[in-house]
Symmetry: C2
Subunit: 505 residues, 2 copies
Amino acid sequence: MSTVEAPAALSELRGRLAELSDLERAVALLRWDQETQMPRRGAAERGEQLATLGRLAHERLLDDRLGELLENLRAHEDALAPDDDEASLIRVTRRDREKALRVPPAMVAELARAAAEGETAWREARAQSDFALLLPALRRNLELRREYAACFPEAARPYDALLDDFEPGMTSAQAQAVLGPMREGLVALLEEVQASGTSLSRGPLHGPLPVERQRAFVADVLRALGVDAGSWRIDEAPHPFAIALAGSDVRLTTRYNEETLDSLFAAMHEFGHGLYEHEIAPALSRTPLATGVSSAVHESQSRLWENFVGRSAGFWRWCFPRLRAAFPDRYERADSQVLYRAANVVAPSLIRVSADELTYGLHIAVRFELELALFDGALDLGDLRDAWNERYRSYLGIEVPSDADGVLQDIHWAAGMFGYFPTYALGNVLAGQLWERIATDIPDLDERFGRGDFGSLREWLREHVHRYGRKLTPAETIERAAGGPLDAAPYLAYLRAKLAPLYGL
Amino acid sequence: MSTVEAPAALSELRGRLAELSDLERAVALLRWDQETQMPRRGAAERGEQLATLGRLAHERLLDDRLGELLENLRAHEDALAPDDDEASLIRVTRRDREKALRVPPAMVAELARAAAEGETAWREARAQSDFALLLPALRRNLELRREYAACFPEAARPYDALLDDFEPGMTSAQAQAVLGPMREGLVALLEEVQASGTSLSRGPLHGPLPVERQRAFVADVLRALGVDAGSWRIDEAPHPFAIALAGSDVRLTTRYNEETLDSLFAAMHEFGHGLYEHEIAPALSRTPLATGVSSAVHESQSRLWENFVGRSAGFWRWCFPRLRAAFPDRYERADSQVLYRAANVVAPSLIRVSADELTYGLHIAVRFELELALFDGALDLGDLRDAWNERYRSYLGIEVPSDADGVLQDIHWAAGMFGYFPTYALGNVLAGQLWERIATDIPDLDERFGRGDFGSLREWLREHVHRYGRKLTPAETIERAAGGPLDAAPYLAYLRAKLAPLYGL
């Protein structure tokens, strides 16, 4: 295609991608509404609506005409710089389409069915705390995911094909090279903490903290972080999430429980996800580039706000007076240091979602190593529970008393979701690298937090991470933002630096 | 097509219509969310999402394959009883499709553009209270609507084609035959009321009534009417509406103002719309039959609950203790009769949306007669304001002091919506006929309301109106439910019977 013809093809491409984007955003609204607003008995028809719109979006991606346009635009793409918006649009669309084309429609349907059946089986198995009840459905999901991985024979290991759906371009070997040292470093640091003899209390973060006042308090904190009512919403959902219906329509959810202040950390976590989507360059809107580039990069943002900010001394100096104003009786005799310490307690526990900042990575290491072994054929599904319990003993030093609090605690595998877990820990690792660079660029960051200035951090992240959306590859995004490939050392150093004075290491 | 082949064609037809329905419900959610939940700055992308999904739905209706299927199913349809679900599905789909095919896509786009421009011009003209500012946009809308009507040359008058979009199968002559006598009867009744010398006060319905308590009170009343949280929501919107995302996912909105109890009547109005959608037979779901059959039938349901129930003596005997419990200070010295009288005050006023039950029909008569005259060529747009003011003087006995409170008060015409107004009054008329029959079938209805029993009314409406959805034609729906064609006499008799004791007529 000559450069004279390219504008027409590009214009048609953009039109088609805008339509695809509109459908995907409508699906996002159907989901958000289902989780936060929908009356219970709307569920059956909502399921049909989601299936139909999802299928229409998928058909648009597979459309032959889209393939022709992409083919016709190759010369145009090659003439542009690789990080040019148009070149990126063509490249990313081609990648999405080629991946989708590899998977037969019957397999897509079968995967969805097996996932739904697996979720049902998981609920029952967890209620009974009996892993054996999940085994048949899990085996089916594993088989199907193997068939799915076989659609991508260029992958060195089947697991690589699964990981690529969440972390495009990353191999399991690369993930191992980051998460192996991370796990070793965390185990060593945990031993140091446990050997210190110091014991801190989470008590100050416990209630009773009336839910109505938590709502107002969380909204107050989020407003200071950057949530304005013109572009954001905060709602409640049993499993908190963030979703963007447009760059300027971002919706966070959290959950409240009178017993703890977890609502705050969940909200800050989702704020990190939401801010990423909010700050993507408006020029990319209504294209496939207008979302986060990978799960790990997304997770780096959520964990950065939840942990690096939300468990920092500066944050608590600023936040504590607000907390006391919201709950005067509860915090009459506390101070910001008491809250700072409570937010940084290290205590190995059974459940991933309530783990502390240090041991969280060990929960992930268990899952990543086990799912990798399953797909490498080194572990049989029948031995999964024992292998799980053994690793919890080895890495976290705790005994798993039941399947419900062990191998059955997460829904991911039951829903056929293999390859996602490592991105949680990769996100922590990347956040550690970003934090190191931010500290160089904004040396007085903690002081800024102390006076409620979160704008300089937001601006740094926008400039170095958010604005690109999916324009760069994940590897390039990480390279530019972190100054190199993923590396666990800064994260381990950050944790040690924080915990050393608290635990007298 | 032989009856052997019909099942395959029907199955494909149902699949296509389910997809169309899912798209339309997604559009409904995008709209509901826009009016009730969306952050302000989400508006621009939301507009794109709405346009895209609306277009995709429209394309599905126009699809050649749908036409083939409908053609192939003619013999099958003819072999069925006319009110068989399948025959109705084929007939209604064909009707919808053939109407849509008559209008060139360029005209559809042009109508949408002119409507949007008209709305903008209307806001400005109303702010300035200057009808002349709206004239150019209004003229353009009128011209386009004439061109639209010309797509249906079988219509005896252009206006018939417009009316048919809201009241399928009804002609303007039929509407005149109902609304003419209605207007005469209302004018005569208004004269009687005004000659009575009795003057009642709306004061008891005025505040201050704290909004927070109004919310709880309205929710309490709606719960008793039949709104359960498993299938319904109540939200707030500046212009109240009801929308169904499924038969078991119905969403009402109302608006609160500390100065009045209008929130209650608006909520009961929307409940009537919502209940209709909620009670349609589940067998019709995900088909074009799963919605109300016409605007007039829909409006009969909203006005029946707002006025026939909400301004009845029995309702107020039941409701008053709840009202007093919600606002003890305000209603310490009142009683149910005081509220009943306040809810039935007749007082000619300028604004349609706040009109009383009697004069409301006169506001509609003005609009219907004027828009009919415009399309018949009997009235020039330049004379519309004078004609408006003259009719308000003649029917309601009041002088219109400004365009903003006169011809500019409604957005409908500015948005190209001609042919809708009469259905408001036709709904009142139909509600009067239904009420007469209900009184025969449930003679102790008012006593039932007095003890909070609204279930027997709900059941009557479900049985005689709601369950059919669009399965029958509007005329057949009305015939079966009301026992004959539209007739203003029962409505006039109902009003007179209620007002006579109140005003000593």
